[in-house]
Symmetry: C2
Subunit: 283 residues, 2 copies
């Protein structure tokens, strides 16, 4: 069994970007910049945003965090995004999700300029991913997963792959990126029949359900690749969707939580921001 | 066994649009318009384009066909598209695929204004479909399939669905539209293992492989829904991917070829063009 070291791979990527960024910063006289908007005081969102800001500092990017009260109107939030759209110091914009219920997430996502949408959530970037136009930005979490596959030499082509969850930010884009790479992809949801049987036959499992202990040792095949995207808190401790102790005795590869997909999501964000910066300074 | 009457459903849709269009044409003083570009002299493309033009006449739309030689440059083709983009009589633009090898299809697709992209191939429209923003246009073939499901009361939620083929125009968008509707969707390709077993367990099969006799009677489950998107020519006769004689003895629903998905693709195109027209005249 190989424990996939997301943290280590992420650090390697960040170290590489730091070096490349130093060179370009010197050459073009400005840093890459990330603008982050956080609405309300969801504690988990604050932790995520802090980790992203820390990663920016780590690689030498400029960053700007705009914290807005939970009762901000949609109109005022849009104004903040439009300011960042126009700000030349900002290459990437990220609005931390979830947003309060009175704000239309779809509308907010589509307000961000596609060329600054480093989360890869704008429909233009999603569509480019689907049709294989690589000028856009890939959603950070599945992008991170694909990089883990590359790092560990896992080729998804022809592999029976089960994805649990069909969200716009993980399940659907992960499915599309793996379909693109030749995997036989099965996307499951809460209505799926015989899920345990499907899991047991899978060469690759990607779980993004957010349900602790959803996948047990008996659910996985000998030698399978298990990617755990779940981030759950049980008695104050972080855990994924997979029973790690049980599964790790059977599988070929497995990501831990924390230290697996989480840091790779941040690496994806930093890579996207750097790509946007290069697009702007080198054009 | 119920033979799904794509031709009949399509005619019903066209009759409805003809009536609605007559009213709006009277009210706003102009018809909906479709601009079609065909490059080279692929006989199959000519047949498809003729059917689309005939459908336009049938519902009272204005249409314009631009036939270009197979050696036209990419730049000149783009100029033709840009003229249609600017033409106020044209609500929808369709460039018949495939294009000659020296022309970049991706680039052509992205040249069409998204608000006139009635084929639903532009990345912005694809991305809107993925995230559930219904202001865009859906790709015509899977759109047609979904309408057949609605017409026949087939609810894909929770159903084990196998899709053969992962193209940008059928396999991937069909998968996304069915994931959106709660199906458990498995997308297969030529590298897929144990394809017969997967088919045998499927509640719904959508085949877009373009391989005659690919799916035999022994491959389908009793009561399954079989949607045949294949259009193949064997000894001068049209047939799909499914052995219709064998399969129809076991399945619950099946589309014939011809007369199944084909006419529904055209209905999808006409619906999209009409939607674009309404967006423009009623804004």
């Amino acid at each position: 069994m190989i424990k996939i070291d997301g943290k280590g791979v992420s650090q390697k990527i960040l170290a590489y970007i730091r070096k490349e960024h130093d060179i370009l910063k010197e050459k073009y006289g400005r840093s890459a910049g990330l603008g982050v908007i956080i609405v309300g005081d969801n504690p988990a969102s604050k932790v995520y945003v802090n980790n992203k800001i820390k990663a920016c500092e780590n690689v030498g990017f400029y960053s700007e965090t705009i914290s807005l009260g939970g009762n901000i109107t949609e109109k005022d939030l849009i104004k903040e995004i439009e300011r960042l759209n126009k700000n030349n110091k900002i290459d990437g914009i990220l609005v931390q999700l979830p947003l309060p219920n009175h704000i239309n997430e779809l509308k907010i996502t589509e307000t961000i300029f596609p060329e600054k949408d480093v989360d890869g959530f704008h429909p233009l970037n999603i569509g480019k991913m689907v049709i294989g136009d690589n000028t856009g930005f890939l959603p950070c979490t599945p992008y991170g997963i694909i990089q883990l596959f590359e790092e560990y030499g896992i080729d998804p082509a022809g592999k029976d792959t089960v994805i649990i969850g069909r969200s716009n930010i993980v399940g659907k884009p992960a499915a599309l990126m793996l379909i693109q790479r030749g995997a036989t992809v099965q996307v499951c949801n809460t209505k799926t029949k015989n899920i345990n049987e499907k899991l047991k036959n899978a060469d690759i499992i990607i779980s993004a359900a957010g349900v602790p202990n959803l996948i047990k040792g008996t659910d996985v095949k000998e030698g399978a690749v298990v990617i755990d995207v779940g981030i759950n808190r049980v008695k104050g401790k972080l855990c994924g969707d997979v029973n790690y102790e049980e599964a790790s005795e059977k599988v070929g590869y497995i990501t831990p939580v924390p230290g697996g997909v989480g840091p790779m999501t941040i690496a994806g964000l930093i890579k996207n921001t750097f790509k946007s910066y290069i697009n702007k300074v080198e054009k």
